[in-house]
């Protein structure tokens, strides 16, 4: 998004830059060309949403940004300073919280792995547990909580780790519609207070419009950047913007751009 103008004022230098990133998987069940020639720049303090049809490699791109996967060709540079903690903290769709750790231990996990002392990491964890509204559940285990509460653990953990960037892979994808709306509000509020660099993968256009500064639209497999658009809504935002006609127009134009790609991907599926 080198040419992108962003809406938030404090965004500056690039956090991640990808140059000609491609990814192919070669496997027993056939080969998959997941990503092709991705050139993007994610700026510090920006909230970027990646939308695209299923199987377009958007999760792969996220994992490449976070170093969980290496590109087949091209390169990713990050310009983040993190010290002992990981540069990026992940939020996964499901199964990202450890069932054998209680809420406090789960939220403190990132700092625990980064050798932060017990008192300090638990203090941070308690702060973020309060921020996501789970105070009183510190000692509870994930299976005792609802799906929405488990995702709040995952979000609290990402923030509590203290990483400069957050990479979210459909963090709200498995939630019911009402819980999802509450969690979107929570994410907007937390991000507006913290202004970390966030990259969020979603298949929900509304979610991308509500949360993002810009939206990267990807084509069907192999995933390519089809279009990058700026979200026209000012911050602070809340879900009320979903009722405006501007929102409806934006959603419609994104959908029109994505529709062909989705149809292509459905043919593959």
């Amino acid at each position: 998004m080198t040419q992108t103008t962003t809406t938030s004022a404090d965004v500056g230098r690039p956090a991640f830059t990808t140059r000609g990133v491609s990814k192919a998987f070669v496997g027993r069940h056939g080969n998959v060309h997941a990503l092709s020639d991705i050139n993007l720049e994610f700026r510090t303090g920006s909230f970027t949403c990646i939308v695209g049809p299923s199987g377009c490699g958007k999760s792969t791109l996220l994992r490449i940004l976070g170093g969980l996967e290496t590109p087949t060709s091209g390169e990713v540079t990050d310009h983040l300073e993190a010290g002992a903690v990981p540069k990026s903290a992940f939020v996964f769709q499901e199964h990202g919280v450890f069932p054998w750790l209680n809420v406090l231990q789960n939220v403190a996990f990132g700092e625990h792995m980064a050798n932060v002392g017990k008192r300090e990491r638990e203090e941070h964890a308690r702060h973020w547990i309060a921020e996501v509204g789970l105070t009183g559940f510190e000692q509870a285990y994930p299976h005792q909580l609802s799906g929405g509460m488990r995702q709040r653990i995952a979000i609290a953990r990402a923030f509590a780790t203290g990483s400069p960037s957050l990479l979210m892979d459909e963090p709200l994808g498995a939630l019911d519609a009402q819980t999802r709306m509450l969690m979107q509000e929570l994410l907007v509020r937390l991000w507006e207070a913290e202004r970390k660099t966030v990259v969020l993968v979603t298949h929900a256009i509304e979610e991308a419009l509500l949360l993002g500064d810009q939206i990267v639209m990807m084509s069907a497999r192999p995933g390519r950047v089809k279009e990058v658009i700026d979200v026209p809504f000012s911050r602070p935002r809340d879900v009320a913007i979903e009722g405006t006609s501007e929102f409806a127009q934006a959603r419609q134009s994104i959908w029109e751009s994505l529709r062909d790609e989705v149809q292509l991907s459905v043919r593959y599926a």
Partner: protein, 298 residues
């Protein structure tokens, strides 16, 4: 709310605001709770009454000659003989002998089984080297190597304990390895994303992830260990509960045999019960109550 007439959907669904309505709702609630409690009490009663009824039936049948009392000693006589054997110390001696072998074999087998499983789980070359061999050996009926062990160690305690230990080892090793291998790849990925590695990855992710499977292995092997030690004592021992049962057959003393059978069953139940207690202590996250949704059967 059986007393209120069903309200058509679409009509005002607001609850009756007056106090009489609230009291009625409360009464209905109490009624439902009482009924649920009654059902629970009934289930418990049925569970307890069935074995008592069967024992009674046995007693009556044996005494009236429907069952051959020489083969099926009436329960009261078995209890009497059991009490005598307890007082004379006979039962105690056999039980101590069996428990000693059982515990030693179980501890040895599980310690080495867990260690081998964990090492094979985290260190791929070891898994590649030992996995197929262990899987092949697992299929061997462990009791079949008793003669070999007797040949090597003579008629001592060693082959008896080793039979148990070897049987336990393979079950625990395979379950431990499976526990590590089967940890959800997404969980491992989340751990990697948060930079868990080395000892911490093992301590906070792999070990707790494998623990449920390890405990299953222990539970299964405890039951198996009781079978193996009984069989070993049938043929290669002069004491122990297995010997007691086998000897009672040879001397045609069915009531003694029944005492031995009951003692062995109790031993198996206690061993399994202790492991379940251990499991609850080690896996609080599996057993902690809460909104774990359980479907109740009618």
């Amino acid at each position: 709310m059986t007393t209120t007439t069903p309200r058509p959907v679409g009509a005002s669904a607001v609850a009756d605001p007056n106090a009489a309505g609230a009291a009625e709702l409360d009464r209905a609630m109490q009624r439902d709770f009482r009924r649920e409690r009654r059902l629970k009490a009934r289930d418990l009663l049925l569970a307890v009454l069935t074995p008592i009824a069967l024992l009674l039936l046995w007693e009556v049948a044996a005494r009236t000659g429907v069952l051959d009392a020489r083969l099926f000693t009436p329960p009261t006589q078995i209890a009497q003989r059991g009490w005598e054997m307890l007082l004379s110390g006979e039962l105690w001696t056999h039980t101590v002998a069996t428990v000693g072998r059982l515990v030693t074999g179980l501890v040895l087998g599980s310690v080495f089984g867990v260690l081998a499983g964990l090492l094979m789980g985290v260190w791929r070359p070891l898994r590649a080297a030992l996995g197929p061999t262990f899987t092949a050996l697992y299929a061997l009926p462990k009791i079949a190597i008793l003669p070999l062990l007797l040949l090597i160690f003579g008629l001592t305690e060693t082959p008896k304990v080793l039979s148990v230990a070897i049987s336990v080892f393979f079950v625990v090793q395979i379950n431990t390895l499976a526990g590590i291998v089967q940890i959800d790849a997404r969980i491992i990925e989340a751990a990697r994303a948060y930079r868990a590695s080395g000892w911490k990855l093992f301590r906070y992710v792999l070990l707790p992830g494998a623990l449920p499977s390890i405990m299953t292995g222990l539970r299964v092997s405890a039951g198996m260990a009781v079978i193996v030690i009984t069989a070993v004592e049938f043929v290669a021992s002069n004491d122990g509960l297995g010997y007691l049962i086998w000897n009672s057959w040879q001397l045609f003393q069915p009531e003694k045999m029944f005492v031995g059978l009951i003692a062995v069953s109790l031993l198996g139940a206690i061993a399994t019960g202790l492991i379940i207690l251990l499991e609850k202590a080690l896996l609080p996250w599996k057993h902690a109550g809460g909104s774990k949704r359980k479907a109740t059967k009618p």
